[in-house]
């Protein structure tokens, strides 16, 4: 059964078309990076998958079930979400925050606590279990948010710019943790940094899906050689591939002035 099957999805707000005829399939254990300019509809796509907004037409199937027909509990077993600015300003401890993500299990105190602790261990944050989430640094907060994402044990994970605003070391560790989670779940990551995608694992098994103005601009395997050209079309600036056989990076070209 396909994990996620989106057919002809249209979402509009007022007269503005946010998502325009999106068709996207994600198979079990597949890894997908979603890129695109600001306002392209990336976050809206995630919210639609989560059943958080009404759709105009088209269908979104999770494991073959329409997402809007699922109860919140059923949906929470199929898809978990790491939103941008995930952590609330509520002064609760990290462990309580993660326990709350176990809601769907309706389990006893001890079981929830143990599950939350092992999720904290997995992201290397167990020493902060009793600290308030409001007192953690940005990188620490994002680890706690990731632990909450994982502890929901959904079969599809959605991460919206998970490494935004973090230093390079923290960015790398967030992506590595996502790569680990991707061994047991399908994963869709929104990112602006195409060069972090290799951290998800084997490029030949990762897809890059680009959104532009509510449409899918391209859908390529991450090591496709035409990627730099397609990125240039997508962002409208010159992009250049640097590096050799080892690690390639694609960056805006320095010499040709970027449009300001």
């Amino acid at each position: 059964m396909t994990q996620l099957d989106i057919q002809g999805l249209v979402v509009s707000r007022g007269s503005r078309l946010i998502l325009d005829n999106i068709t996207l399939r994600v198979e079990r254990l597949e890894r997908v990076a979603v890129i695109g300019p600001n306002g392209a509809g990336k976050t809206t796509l995630m919210r639609a998958i989560l059943g958080l907004l009404p759709t105009d037409s088209g269908s979104i199937l999770l494991d073959g079930f329409p997402t809007l027909k699922l109860t919140p509990l059923e949906r929470a077993a199929k898809v978990a979400w790491l939103p941008q600015q995930a952590l609330a300003e509520e002064p609760i401890s990290a462990i309580e925050y993660i326990r709350a993500a176990r809601f769907r299990f309706g389990e006893g105190d001890l079981a929830a606590r143990n599950a939350a602790l092992s999720a904290l261990k997995m992201v290397g944050a167990d020493k902060w279990a009793n600290r308030l989430i409001t007192q953690l640094s940005g990188g620490e907060q994002q680890r706690v948010a990731l632990a909450a994402l994982f502890t929901q044990e959904a079969s599809l994970l959605l991460a919206d710019e998970p490494a935004n605003h973090l230093d390079p070391a923290q960015q790398a560790s967030v992506w590595r943790l996502l790569a680990r989670a991707a061994m047991s779940s399908s994963i869709i990551v929104i990112t602006h940094d195409i060069n972090l995608v290799p951290l998800l694992g084997d490029l030949s098994k990762t897809r890059v899906v680009a959104l532009n103005q509510g449409r899918i601009a391209f859908d390529l395997v991450a090591n496709d050689s035409s990627l730099p050209d397609r990125l240039r079309e997508l962002y409208g600036i010159e992009m250049q591939e640097y590096g050799d056989g080892g690690q390639r990076v694609i960056l805006p070209k320095v010499s040709s002035g970027c449009p300001v």
């Binding site: 919140p72 949906r75 929470a76 978990a80 979400w81 609330a88 309580e96 709350a100």
Partner: protein, 320 residues
């Protein structure tokens, strides 16, 4: 910074401990009559302290639930229209000259109860529609509060003097004139409301993290809102119809508990229940002790203590 934070926490914990002794003060020290024979004790003090416990617990718990529900420390039954509706209902009953007992309850209480439920129903309807954001529902609550208050002002304008005196007495909030009869009716209703609200702790804990996140974690947000808000309104309507709109308990009690024991809802809800019960009994005892000749209504005491306490709390929190 950290030292100051721990200090603030301990200051509030000590204050809470003092508040928890309130019911004892109410049982042992309230005068009203110099002889402390068993009639005074069982027919005056015990029902009065029991009323204080029931009403205070309901107001404290309702305040905590409302704050979590609206993710706003200022959200209380006063801002969701419940108290304003009760006041309007009580005034209506007074102005139409009702004073006679109906259904075993005084007409004022019954009318206040209906008023509280009607205004809450408007806010509840907004919450149940499922299309509005949390902040919008709170705004509707404030709009309902303002509308009910201005309607009450019009009523006061056309009311005759005896009705006005009775209305102002009711609106000050007091725990006297309550006997076992009322406790037998209201007690079980309130107890059921508490149990339902306490059972919502897990739902409220993920709701305070944001409604979209709560939804994605498996919570039926609309259902949780409707259950919490309707049961909250029912509890407050019963409490207020009985004793008048007692302010500040719903605002200050959850704030105290959060500062002393953290924001975990599984602590905040039962903590606010216990602390609200103790605080209202304490304030009522103080109201009787301040002046033996003319007792101060409990609503006045809660407001007089609540206002400075709230300011102190904000200062304490910002220091930590």
């Amino acid at each position: 910074m950290r030292v100051a934070g721990i200090k603030a926490r301990w200051v509030v914990r000590v204050a809470l401990f003092a508040i928890w002794l309130g019911p004892l003060l109410g049982l042992l020290c309230t005068p009203r009559s110099s002889n402390t024979d068993s009639f005074v004790y069982w027919q005056l003090r015990v029902p009065r302290v029991t009323t204080g416990l029931l009403v205070g617990a309901s107001l404290g718990l309702a305040g905590a639930v409302t704050q979590a529900l609206f993710r706003n420390p200022l959200a209380t039954p006063s801002t969701t229209g419940t108290l304003a509706g009760a006041t309007l209902g009580a005034l209506l009953a007074l102005v139409w000259g009702a004073g006679a007992a109906s259904l075993g309850l005084p007409a004022i209480a019954l009318s206040a109860f209906v008023g509280a439920l009607l205004t809450s129903a408007i806010v509840l309807g907004a919450a149940a529609s499922g299309r509005l954001r949390t902040q919008d529902i709170l705004l509707i609550g404030i709009a309902v509060t303002l509308a009910a208050s201005s309607a009450a002002t019009v009523l006061e304008d056309i009311a005759d003097t005896p009705a006005l005196v009775a209305a102002s007495r009711w609106s000050l909030g007091h725990l006297s004139q309550v006997g076992y009869g009322q406790i037998r009716i209201a007690g079980p209703i309130l107890a059921v409301c508490w149990l339902i609200l306490l059972s919502q702790a897990r739902a409220l804990q993920i709701l305070v993290l944001g409604e979209d996140v709560a939804h994605s974690r498996g919570l039926n947000v609309r259902k949780a809102r409707v259950i919490s808000l309707s049961v909250c309104s029912l509890a407050v309507a019963v409490a207020v119809a009985w004793c008048g709109p007692i302010a500040f308990v719903g605002l200050i009690v959850p704030a105290l508990v959060r500062l002393a024991f953290g924001a975990n809802q599984r602590v905040v809800l039962p903590g606010s229940l216990v602390t609200g019960a103790a605080l209202l009994t304490l304030c009522d005892a103080l109201g009787q002790l301040i002046s033996t000749r003319h007792e101060v209504p409990v609503g006045v005491v809660t407001a007089a203590l609540g206002a400075p306490a709230l300011v102190a709390l904000i200062v304490l929190r910002n220091n930590s």
